[in-house]
């Protein structure tokens, strides 16, 4: 899989950066319901509720984060998730 089809994810909490790197997909607890983002999604700026953000990185490792409310912005395969509070990786496991 080439770089162009990966998401560049940046997950930041109000007082520290939580995670950043490349991911194949992201699942986000958006205000209107859970939302999945794959590469080349349309640019979107949406609010998120408290819940879990799941990121699948290039090595198929799933990263799960507990977050409180915030928002995400996505454009040209750059995903920024900004949350009030984000707890670092909750579970990391292989998803195959």
């Amino acid at each position: 899989m080439s770089d162009a089809t990966l998401l560049e994810v940046n997950l930041v909490a109000a007082d520290h950066p939580v995670w950043s790197g490349k991911a194949k997909s992201a699942t986000i607890p958006a205000a209107d319901g859970v939302m999945g983002i794959l590469p080349d999604h349309e640019p979107v700026l949406t609010l998120i509720d408290a819940g879990r953000v799941v990121l699948v990185d290039a090595e198929n490792v799933r990263h799960m984060f507990e977050v409180t409310d915030g928002f995400i912005s996505f454009d040209s395969n750059r995903l920024t998730i900004a949350v009030e509070r984000g707890r670092d990786v909750v579970i990391t496991k292989d998803s195959d």
Partner: protein, 316 residues
């Protein structure tokens, strides 16, 4: 000539004071590194919010109360002064108080009634001692401001701002804080936080740009392509309602962090000067002690020689 005993005890006490100042200076310099990391850690979030607000601003003419005063005739303003919790920071708190007083006078001249909010124990006790009314004060966090205190402050101030004028709502919010320029220079600044003036392009104007300036210098080309296409969910208004308060909160948090860094830096400077002064004083006192010891010896010698002379004369 002061007695040698008194001089010795003064030298001793000055030496131990000097040690304390030195320790304080070292503590302050270690805190600066910490303050810098905290500020760096908070930056990505601030940048993200700033970018989002920029995208929103480019998308629509924002007609939100946070961007525009609801009541242009509102004769009430809020002032938040960021002071220190502890002393020993040189003129840090007093310069902020002086700047605040000047601002209060200016606002009064414009016929505005001012609600005063204070952050930091020193500032709060200054106003309390003088029986000046404080709307609210926050104490105990001035050298390590967390997100919680920023949240509490921005919530209180936004509540006051959002209230209608009849219920003592305020029309403007000013923050007086100390900007951290470098280790030696910290400047007092007055920032009008509300209503927000948004910079649309990378030409950051002075009242807004200095803090968010770095993020505003992103290349404009990238922004143009992006902003028009954004889909806002659930809706533009809801996104605005959620993001603008966060923007204010992150701006306030940023001010708190800069103020904390400045406080630590001025404490370090003050303690450095105090250590130097203590050393000078010790040198002075040691010189006096030596002189006084010398004088005592001379006197003793004169007395011995005098009495020996007297004895010799008697024998003759």
């Amino acid at each position: 000539m002061a007695s040698q005993l008194a001089l010795k005890s003064r030298i001793n006490s000055t030496t131990s004071l000097g040690k304390i100042f030195n320790a304080q200076e070292m503590i302050a310099s270690s805190h600066i590194a910490k303050a810098r990391t905290v500020a760096l850690n908070a930056k990505p979030y601030t940048d993200a919010i700033f970018d989002a607000v920029q995208a929103l601003a480019a998308h629509s003419d924002i007609d939100h109360p946070i961007m525009k005063a609801q009541d242009p005739n509102c004769k009430r303003a809020a002032v938040l002064a960021l002071t220190a919790d502890r002393g020993m920071a040189g003129a840090y708190t007093s310069s902020i108080l002086r700047e605040t007083e000047a601002l209060l006078a200016r606002l009064k001249q414009q016929g505005k009634q001012v609600d005063l909010y204070v952050y930091g124990r020193r500032g709060a006790s200054y106003y309390r001692y003088r029986d000046r009314p404080l709307m609210q004060s926050w104490e105990g966090d001035s050298d390590h401001p967390g997100v919680d205190v920023a949240e509490a402050i921005s919530k209180t101030l936004l509540d006051a701002y959002m209230r209608p004028t009849e219920e003592h709502g305020v029309g403007e919010l000013y923050i007086v804080f100390t900007e951290f320029e470098n280790m030696v220079v910290q400047r007092q600044r007055v920032l009008r936080m509300l209503p927000v003036e948004l910079i649309r392009t990378n030409t950051a104007d002075d009242s807004e740009g200095a803090i968010v300036g770095d993020s505003a210098t992103d290349d404009p080309g990238e922004k143009e392509g992006v902003s028009a296409l954004y889909a806002f969910e659930p809706s533009v208004d809801k996104v605005l309602d959620a993001i603008l308060p966060k923007y204010i909160q992150s701006r306030i948090h940023e001010c708190l962090l800069t103020a904390a860094a400045s406080e630590t830096a001025s404490r370090q400077n003050a303690m450095h000067t105090a250590t130097d002064n203590a050393n000078n004083l010790i040198d002075d006192l040691t010189r006096k002690l030596n002189a006084s010891r010398q004088a005592a010896i001379t006197q003793e010698l004169t007395e011995i020689i005098g009495s020996a002379d007297a004895l010799n004369k008697e024998e003759e």
